[in-house]
Amino acid sequence: MIAATATLRVSIHYLVILPVLIFFGASLLLLIASAMWRRTMPTWVATSTTVATSLAVLVVTYFQWRGLDKSGVSTTVAHAVVLDGFSVVATAVIAVSLGLAALVAHDWAIRENVRGPEYQILALASTAGAVLMTQANDLVVIFLGLEILSLGLYVLVAIDRRKTVSAEAALKYFILGGFASAVFIYGAALVYGATGSTNLSSISYFLGSNVLLKPGLLYAGGALLLVGFAFKIAAVPFHMWSPDVYEGAPTPVTGFMASIVKVGAFAALIRVMISGLGTQLATWRPILWVLIVLTTVIGAALALPQRNAKRLLAYSSINHAGFILVGVWAGTARGSAATLFYLATYAPTVVATFAIVTLMGGLGDERHSLESYRGLARRQPWLGASLAVLLLSQLGAPLTTGFYAKYAVLASAIDASGTILALIVLLSAAIAASFYLRWTVVLYAEPDGDMEMSRVVVPRATGLAIGLGVAMTLLFGIWPGPLATLAQHATLYFTP
């Protein structure tokens, strides 16, 4: 009798899902508060709520990390949500990125007169989805996280209702994103049919203890899952939407997309590939190999002719996606740690980069030609130098985080006997270096005499975000030890 009641009681370990609850709760709280507010809620209230939420989640991740040391990995909600080192670090990265992105969006919203708390409400809800993706241990939960993340983002892209180009970008993003989600969940259905479960641990256990006589169903399902992810992380040949959406979306939203979506999607991808389909490593590796080569080389090559800063950064982020995939390809703990380190350093860098692009865009968010950056570092040495550091970090210059991040993923690939892959990827980095350097040179170039350039006002919140982003880029670039150790520790506590 006692045993019967005990099995009926559903126990949920709330510390595990606390970050998701906090993000989503803050989103709902803002939504209700804004409805009760007598007039339009001031932007600063929404922004400070988001920043406070990010800080609160950072504190929670600290306690989660402490708890991991004591009690190890734990799962909850029928083993569908997991708390391991990987998810804790990824959650912390997402929280930092959200805080920085919120500061940037604050000044943008005031400049563009996009009043009200809608941006922050949607950003918080989207972030809850991204965090859920990092913790998901079940294909269906990954799908839910993906959708929570994406649905908020579709609206965020179109949040400036006066801009036709944003609405069109949102429609494009929505249709391709919906298509990708449908492909993903069909893949999940086929994997479910092949293995009898959508739970990654069960799938892994099943595949480890059974030999599939007809693996066609599993392979088809795995391939569809990979295609769904490739759309989300904008890997070539599924990248077509990304330059258009990056260009059409308001610049702070682009920064949000480039950082938080990438962290969430890559965390889920690693979990599916390593802890779910890890036994099939030999099968998916060649596919990923081709995907990486295409993504890095084509991403870098297509960026070369771009004259628009946002499109250039879109192709640059495609190139980066290829780099991050290299760590997944390695399939080792070292590879996962390298991926995590890459994500942790790339996310703040890219948010800060888009913060500067937001400022340079000026009123109307339209001045994005590379020409408008000519001589920026001469007019405004601090702003120019910050952008130069951020670009050099994305290039992979020594003393910035980009260097160690690129080194770590390539080293993990060479470890896993992928020397040729590492060489090809390195070649793409050389191509990418040319456009980063060209942009940096433009920053320090002599301004054209006939072009009247006004100084860009740096508002306090955006300035803080840029400062923090640059500080992280330099600090962990010069001294990557602690963060690298953290990433390694994080992957020790991987899913059982």
Binding site: L144, Y154, T164, F174, I175, F179, I185, S197
Partner: protein
């Protein structure tokens, strides 16, 4: 007479294929949108079929999640379509020319 499970799976695959083909070839945002819904429903059919053949309740509950997500997608998607339509009086994606593609 019972219909073999494989037939349901083939039907679902065909529906999914029709949906995917529609998204790729059709040019009206609304029809592309309907095609995505078709794809999601094909997924539901697949889940239910597998759940029946394996006598596992998990697949059937998943269908509810997919249905809720599909409904949420409709809400957001139609909102965006309306926002675009207000400016252009057309939902054909060919006329979305502000972005160079």
């Amino acid at each position: 007479m019972t219909i073999p499970a494989a037939w349901y799976l083939i039907l679902a695959a065909l529906l999914f294929g029709v949906g995917a083909f529609g998204v790729v070839t059709r040019r009206s945002a609304l029809i592309m949108f309907m095609c995505i819904e078709l794809m999601l429903n094909a997924v539901n059919l697949t889940f239910v079929t597998f759940a029946r053949t394996m006598s596992d309740i998990g697949g059937q509950t998943t269908v509810f999640f997919v249905m809720v997500v599909a409904a949420a997608e409709v809400t957001v998607g139609l909102g965006i379509v309306v926002a675009v339509f207000r400016r252009r009086a057309s939902t054909s994606v060919d006329e979305l020319s502000e972005l160079q593609g």
